[in-house]
């Protein structure tokens, strides 16, 4: 089982306590009504699908309950680092 470091608990915890919550660092547009349908569609549905280094949101839902960001390699499934939500992209 993979161990994931939760930046809030500051501990390595088993993978099944966590849930993946999609791509990280997607900022909600400040003025959605000014956007075209294509831009809005892009914000809502279009996600990166890299082979390799990927920034993701994870939630420690069977632990402290917090969302945080993680950098995971999509090929090896290795977690490079995890950091608290709100911190700059690594």
């Amino acid at each position: 089982m993979i161990l994931i470091h939760c930046p809030y608990c500051d501990e390595q915890r088993p993978e099944i306590e966590f849930a993946n919550a999609g791509q990280a660092h997607i900022a909600r547009p400040s003025d959605p009504s000014a956007m075209s349908d294509e831009e809005w569609e892009h914000y809502l549905f279009i996600r990166a699908n890299p082979r390799g280094r990927h920034h993701e949101r994870w939630r420690h839902n069977h632990g402290c309950g917090r969302f945080f960001n993680a950098v995971r390699d999509t090929v090896t499934d290795k977690f490079e680092t995890t950091y608290k939500a709100g911190e700059p992209r690594r």
Binding site: D10, E11, E17, H62
Partner: protein, 168 residues
């Protein structure tokens, strides 16, 4: 009709005695979830020191998250009152039931479904975690004694799983 209504408990009232381990229902407790941005606000409401690090347990209060505390108190204790408006107090006494797992094989039995590294889970720590697919809160009261909190509707299943593990 009402005379046909009976109270049914999710887990048996009597203990289960296995080899080097026993399981029993914890006494009835009052439980409160306290949410606040600052631990100082919670301490003011309770008038007692509370753990600030996640996983800490002191004075019947477990720190489950950066802004979340779970408080155990004796049955019938009145709800803590927050006058400042900075602490959210929710009574959850009947949401979960407690199971006491005790004996030399306690950690081994819990480890049958709980993926935590219990060898490094010190006495006096508390955390929310998972047993198979059921969310639980565990408090390690002694090396060989765990208090397990589980939601009422999951309790019969967890009781069966733990007693089965204890029989193996």
């Amino acid at each position: 009709m009402s005379e046909a209504l009976v109270r049914s408990d999710p887990i048996p009232a009597g203990p289960f005695l296995g080899r080097d381990a026993s399981l029993k229902a914890a006494p009835r407790l009052a439980r409160y979830v306290l949410r606040a941005r600052a631990s100082a606000a919670v301490e003011k409401v309770l008038g007692a020191q509370i753990p600030t690090a996640i996983g800490g347990f002191a004075n019947g209060v477990a720190c489950l998250g950066p802004d979340e505390w779970l408080m155990f108190a004796s049955d019938g204790r009145e709800s803590p009152v927050d006058e400042s408006g900075s602490v959210s107090v929710t009574e959850v006494s009947d949401r979960s039931v407690g199971i006491i797992l005790e004996g030399a094989r306690a950690a081994e039995i819990l480890a049958t479904g709980c993926p935590l590294d219990l060898d490094h889970f010190a006495v006096g720590r508390a955390t929310r975690t998972i047993y198979e697919t059921v969310e639980i809160v565990i408090v390690r009261e002694a090396m060989d004694r765990f208090h397990i909190e589980v939601w009422r509707s999951f309790a019969p299943w967890l009781w069966t799983a733990l007693t089965t593990a204890a029989t193996e």
